[in-house]
Structures are given as structure tokens and as C-alpha cells.
Amino acid sequence: MKKLALAGMLAVGLTGCSSEEPQVLNLYNWSEYMPQEVLDRFTEETGIQVVYTTYDSNEAMYARLKLLDDSAAYDLAVPSTYYVSKMRQEDLLLPIDRSKIEGFDNLDPELVNLDIDPENKFSVPYLWGTTGLAVDTADIEGEPVTAWEDLWEDRFDGRVMLTNDMREVFHVGLRVLGYSGNSTNPDEIEAAYEKLSELMPSVRTFNSDAPRMPYLEGETDVGMIWNGEAVMGKDTMESLEYVYPEEGIIAWLDSFVIPKNAKNPEAAHQFISFVLQPEISALISEEIGYATPNLASRDLLPDEVANNRASYPNATDMINAEFQTDIGDDALQVYAKYWEMLKSGR
């Protein structure tokens, strides 16, 4: 909060001489999910200052938005797939006025009008990505890693990293057993827990702040990673490979939404339009390694980005891929209990 206040003060300070009250956009986003250049250019173009705050889990973002009163509102947030439907159903979002959004038609028709928000009344897709396998090929000898199942091999003892995300970790356990990653069946979830607890002695750490870091720091050599993190990590460490596991990748779509108590929905609309410009979408995808749903920007991408399989998977890579869906509260409690058991297990 202190940081936020400081940024706010700074923003006020910078435009202190103008007679008009400076406009501010409070953007609440995943950590490392927006290049600073985009924010700077938006401010330059519109005069609206951006106060940028980050989170590292949907849960944290959701709890914060749910509890905040009007005094500390965010104007724009970026929930993942099933959180859009959850927040929409709980009446936490303002409808998006399509007449104020330019460039919506640029979006991939396959990524709009999804079940999470049938007519995109409340959300506009920002980026999409996958959670797959990371392998540090410099430190791994023997057979190449091709499946989630391979993580259970003895040779990876103490070298595995998982994301610190309950749903994703159970997704892996469920897929290895041949179940859906969105299972709500308590027996299947328990079986996944049993399977995952066999993996636990090999697991060195959970990380969702910046999942590439344990690989770069040399703490872990194999495990889960988000594709954008893998792309960013490869810039620093050439041997870090992103692998599409045979059992199927975890896919997600993050969308812009405007929270109910937003103070400046006008600026939020402006920002969404700004990001939908092909040039800006391309810049974001190139910079942080996730795939843009903005089809008009694909042609602007440099070849090495557009042909990077980690960012833009081909049809074969997406076989067995599953999007996460809302599993409902009862199943959530089952997951939560086994998650706690998994992490406290010796």
C-alpha cells in the first residue's frame, strides 16, 4: 500500500503545475505482465497517469477486489479464465461499453464469446498462455523429458519445481492419471493427491512469483513453468527449454475487467483500446513472451517471436490441452484440503 501511495504522490507531483486534476488509472495486474514502455506510452498519449499494482495469484486479486471499499479502488484488473465468470456472477464487474472500445474486432474469434463471458459484456481478452514443462537441458542427462509423468523419475530427486498454484498442480496430478484437470469428483482429486504426494520428496520449491527464477538460480532443473516465463528465462539461460507434455498442456486466458467500484472507468476503456492497437499488442507479446489474442498484431511480430513454439503453440502442441474452468465451491474445499496436506507432508 505504501508503494501505491508513493506512486500516487509521484504522479500528482509530476503534473503538479497543471490547473486540472490529473487523471489517474489504477491498474491491478499480474507481476511481470506488462512492459513499462506500454504504460509510459499510454501516459504520453493520453496524459493519464498509471498507478500500477501487482498480484501473484487470482485468489489474492479476488480477495482484494472483494473487500476494498471505494477509497482504494482499482480501475482495471486481469483475472484468469474461470475467475472472470466467478466475478461476473458475483456482480463484481462493470459492463464494458463496446462503443468506447476500438479494435475489439482484431481479436481471435476463437478466444471471444467463450463460456466464461458469453458475449464479452464484462471482459476483453488481454493475453493467453500455457503452463507446461521446463527443462534445463544443460543439467539433465539421459532420456529427454516429454510428459508430466517423467517428473516422477528418481533422477529428478530434489530438482523439481512446481508452481505455487493449487489448481495447476492438481491439474498435473489429474492428467497423469488420465482424468480431466477440472475434475470435481472427490475420489479423483484424492487419487491425484496420492499421486502428487509421491512426487513431493523430489519437489524443491513452489513458485508463482516468477517461476523462471529457481531454474535460472540453479535451484531446480525440471518442472512446471508458464510459457512466457520460459521465453523470458531463455533470454538469460539458453539451455532452458519449454516442453509440451504428452498428457496435455494447461491453457488459460487472462482478460481485462473493470471492477464495480472503479473510479475512472473512462480511463479503463481508453487503456483497453490502447492495448488493442496491433502495434501495442505486438510489443507486449514480444516483450513478455505470452501469446496475444490480437490477430491483427500477429503480422507485426518479428519472425522469431511469431514462430516461437513456446509462445505460439501449433495444433499438435494443443492436443489434450485443457482450459481451466470454475469448479464450484464444494470441489474447491476438497482441493484446498488436499493442497494443504500436500504442502505440509514430510
Binding site: 489474492a60 524443491r204 513452489f206 538460480e217
Partner: protein
């Protein structure tokens, strides 16, 4: 004795203190108690009817195991703090006034930096290619880097680092009050160094030990960011369970009940502390 000026000042101070206690201590705690007896609700977090389900859930073997492991790590932390803090505080009370000030100042300086930032700094030291491993390898003590980070040991090191001053300060104050005459008397009556230590110094410094233990043990079970950063989100503390229940599982009544158990444990320790103090006081009289 009372001057006219004193009365309004006294009233103002009392109002401030009571107001503080009522609004910033009692009210939040009552809210937590209230939350712990409500029913969890997926949409509005809490709902009626009132019940004790959350407390019943605490007896789930899983949470008992987390609690015991958390207690074990906190106890190890406390022990290490005591082993370092006791001689330190003793030595601190022996050095000259000038040096004492400097040492206490040095003890307090780290508090000027946020503990989260200091924990990240510790991570850089303990990492596989971190400062400690590089140093050990460059002087040839080890060939392969040690796995220090993301272990139980790393969590305990982090907790000791953050909580040591809370052990030293109360110990220092009892050593300051330790009357030289009593030690001389013990010596005159024929007690050796060891005997004096066990029969005179330890009992007289016991209230400080207990105060230090109280200030270290309970917070050690709650500092959830230490296992998150240094333990690789494993080796969970009770604090992590509370945080997970509020954030991930959205089971507020259970999270509240768990934090009340911590508060009650703390109250129990304070009660024991008072008892021991009174007992020692009576013996001294």
C-alpha cells in the same frame, strides 16, 4: 502532590490509551472471534448460523500435524535464539556504558529495514549460487554447493535472524538488574562458578528467559513469509495455514479459529510468565 495541570493531561493520556486498546486491540480481536463462530460462505465469506464447526476442524489430524511441525520449528528457533541471546545479553550487561549503547544500537538498526526485504537478502546469501556457497567454495571448504535454500534449516535460520533481538532485549534487562552483591554473597558462601550460575543466576534471570521465549515462540509460528521465501512454500507454519484459509480456500471461520488458538496459547504463556515472576518475587522477599 497533584498540580492542576496534571489532571487534564492524565485524563487525555487515559482516553488515548483506552481508546487505542478498545478500537485497535479489542475490536479487531472481537471481529476475529465473531468470524470464527460463523459459517463459511462462498460469496460473502461469512454467514449465519453461529456454530463451532471451525474449531472442530482444527482437530483434523492434518492440521494437528501442521501445528506440531510449526511448533517444532518455532521451538528450535527459540532454542537457538536462547543459546545465542543468553550469553550475548550477559556480555552486553558487562561491557562499559558507551559500548553498551553502541551494541544495542547495532541490534536495533536492522529494524529500520522491512523484514520482508531482509528475508529476500537472506535468500541471496543462502542460494545455491549465493554468497555463502561461493565463499565456502572459493576457500576450498566444499566442492559442490550445499543445498541450503528451500530447506527446514533455511526457515529456522530466517526466523532466528528476524527474532533474535526479541530474545536479547528482555534478557539484557534482567541481567542489568542482577545485583552484584548476590553473586558476591554466593561466592563468599562457598559456591563455585557453576553452582552460582545454576542456583543464583539462572533463577534470577528466568523471568527474562520466559519473556524472551514468549516474544520469539509465538511470532515464530506466524511469520508466514519466511517459509514462503526461504522454505520454498514448504515447511509451513500456522501462519501459512491461516493465510491459505483466508486467501485460497476462502474459509474465513477456520482461519479465524486458527488465529484464536495462537492468541489463546500466547495468553496462556503470559499467564505462566506472571505466575513464575510472582513465585520468584516471593522467594526473593
Amino acid at each position: 502532590m497533584h498540580s492542576v495541570m496534571q489532571q487534564p493531561f492524565k485524563t487525555a493520556v487515559l482516553i488515548l490509551v483506552w481508546g487505542w486498546l478498545l478500537f485497535l486491540v479489542l475490536a479487531p480481536n472481537l471481529l476475529v472471534v465473531g468470524a470464527s463462530v460463523m459459517t463459511r460462505d462462498p460469496v460473502s465469506f461469512l454467514s449465519l448460523p453461529l456454530n463451532l464447526d471451525a474449531y472442530r476442524q482444527l482437530f483434523d489430524p492434518l492440521y494437528l500435524e501442521v501445528f506440531l511441525h510449526s511448533l517444532y520449528m518455532a521451538a528450535m528457533t527459540t532454542l537457538v535464539c536462547l543459546l545465542i541471546g543468553y550469553p550475548f545479553a550477559w556480555a552486553l550487561s558487562k561491557v562499559g556504558k558507551q559500548r553498551q549503547l553502541i551494541l544495542i544500537f547495532l541490534l536495533i538498526v536492522p529494524f529500520w529495514t522491512n523484514s520482508l526485504v531482509r528475508t529476500y537478502a537472506l535468500k541471496l546469501i543462502l542460494a545455491t549460487n549465493g554468497l555463502l556457497n561461493s565463499a565456502l567454495m572459493s576457500i576450498g571448504l566444499i566442492d559442490e554447493p550445499l543445498q541450503l535454500l528451500y530447506t527446514e534449516g533455511a526457515v529456522i535460520i530466517g526466523l532466528v535472524y528476524l527474532l533474535l533481538p526479541f530474545m536479547i532485549l528482555p534478557l539484557y534487562s534482567v541481567f542489568e538488574d542482577l545485583k552484584q552483591e548476590l553473586l558476591l554473597a554466593s561466592h563468599d558462601l562457598g559456591a563455585g562458578r557453576f553452582s552460582t550460575f545454576v542456583h543464583v543466576i539462572v533463577p534470577l534471570t528466568l523471568p527474562g528467559v520466559l519473556a524472551g521465549v514468549m516474544l520469539v515462540l509465538l511470532p515464530a509460528m506466524g511469520l508466514f513469509f519466511v517459509p514462503d521465501i526461504l522454505g520454498g512454500s514448504r515447511n509451513l507454519l500456522v501462519g501459512n495455514v491461516i493465510k491459505n484459509q483466508f486467501l485460497d480456500a476462502r474459509n474465513w471461520p477456520f482461519g479465524a479459529a486458527a488465529s484464536i488458538v495462537l492468541t489463546v496459547t500466547m495468553a496462556f504463556l503470559m499467564f505462566a510468565h506472571r505466575l513464575s515472576k510472582r513465585r520468584i518475587g516471593e522467594e526473593g522477599a
